[in-house]
Symmetry: C2
Subunit: 250 residues, 2 copies
């Protein structure tokens, strides 16, 4: 594959359950050595950008702030850029990302995994705003995530609920939506076609990237399950792990 830059998912590609996956640090070093710029793209919606950076550093992955695209921060930036006054359905731990936004008399809904804050009243309030024409900005479409003991509900089902209720379509800012892919490529000064996305989620990472014009690489780590490669979009490839993915690229 011929690329001029790389986007990478974090969980399941570079890390797993708070540990570094084998070859992750070496892979980023190899990209640096080949002068290939890279960005990390995550839909994680229960930790602020600063906490993710701190964790990566503590694991031995030196990542600069401008190399990390965390979907909640991107959602907040989009709301600011468009002058929206969002009704916030967000996890308490990432509320600070939305500091400075005027949320009075809301004219938009932002849905970033509110967890315990998601209840009938808050969803009904969001529904009323959507019915009145407000846009819905959502962090992603993930169905569930690996919790401490079992899979737990992620934000996607609540996006689907509100879309169905109000008869409208959400703007998915994080993966598999286009917005975060486009911002990451633009931050490297590259066209999407010159960038490959490496991920363990065939839908959000790989199909989303290909739909946004990037090249796609699926790794057989993290949430990868046997047979996922049957659902690869045309042109995308599947390799064993991050080391194999980077070997394809440098």
């Amino acid at each position: 594959m011929s690329v001029r830059g790389v986007c990478l998912d974090i969980a399941g590609v570079l890390t797993d359950s708070g540990r570094l996956l084998p070859g992750a640090a070496e892979a980023l070093q190899a990209l640096d050595a080949a002068a290939l710029p890279w960005r990390l793209l995550t839909n994680t919606s229960r930790r602020p950008q600063t906490a993710i950076l701190a964790e990566l550093t503590s694991l031995g992955l030196p990542v600069q702030a401008e190399q990390l695209f965390a979907a909640p921060r991107v959602v907040a930036d989009a709301a600011r850029a468009r002058g929206l006054r969002p009704y916030l359905l967000v996890h308490p731990d990432i509320r600070a990302e939305f500091a400075g936004l005027d949320c009075r008399e809301p004219n938009a809904v932002v849905l970033c995994d509110a967890a315990e804050g998601l209840d009938y009243r808050s969803l009904d309030q969001a529904f009323a705003l959507l019915r009145a024409g407000a846009p819905l900005l959502a962090v992603g479409l993930n169905r569930y995530f690996q919790g401490r003991e079992r899979l737990e509900l992620d934000v996607g089902p609540f996006v689907k609920a509100l879309e169905y209720a109000a008869g409208m379509e959400a703007e998915i800012i994080g993966k598999p939506g286009r917005a975060m892919f486009e911002l990451a490529c633009a931050s490297m000064g590259l066209a999407a076609a010159d960038v490959a996305m490496v991920g363990d989620d065939v839908e959000a990472d790989v199909a989303g990237a290909v739909a946004a014009g990037l090249q796609g690489i699926l790794v057989r780590t993290g949430k990868y399950r046997d047979g996922d490669e049957q659902r690869l979009p045309p042109g995308a490839v599947c390799v064993d792990n991050i080391a194999a993915a980077v070997a394809l690229l440098v």
Copy 2:
């Protein structure tokens, strides 16, 4: 139209905002006079069967218990008949319908408009059961209902959320599902093809009935909106109100 029995929706067909619609009482009398048996079918999920009967009687519509099919009661009967131990997401006001069901170590999920009881924890609990293979019995697919001041979220969006999360399909017991239509026809000793359904909801009442083999009549009262007749299934008809519907049938 040639029929041997009739099913009717209540809200928007016979009543509106707690009042009788013009011609409603006369319509039921005309069916009785023509010796056409009839059943009332409602997805109302915030009032028990007994309260619905009492309200109809107080409005001057003498309805016998066996003539009323309220979806929550039908859901409860289905759970009992199948020996299910449901995890109940139901409105507090209809909890009594589920009396006697063993709900320990649940092996099914029942979703009947829990309103304030629907929150992240309860939906996540339902999700875990569905992932483990439990069936999801839902009262209906309604997107919203007319609340006191505005449209409010109904049960349908939560069905869609759980279906998306767990990658499975709910059994819709009330309209537009087949189960309640089939039970109503069976209670009159009639084949579905010999029964017409009269409703104001082109999807839940009319398309649902036609999919279950009944004939379909849409009335231009209640939640009917201009243009709904464009979405009628083949063979179904649209008339102004309950009086016109019954005139077609007797």
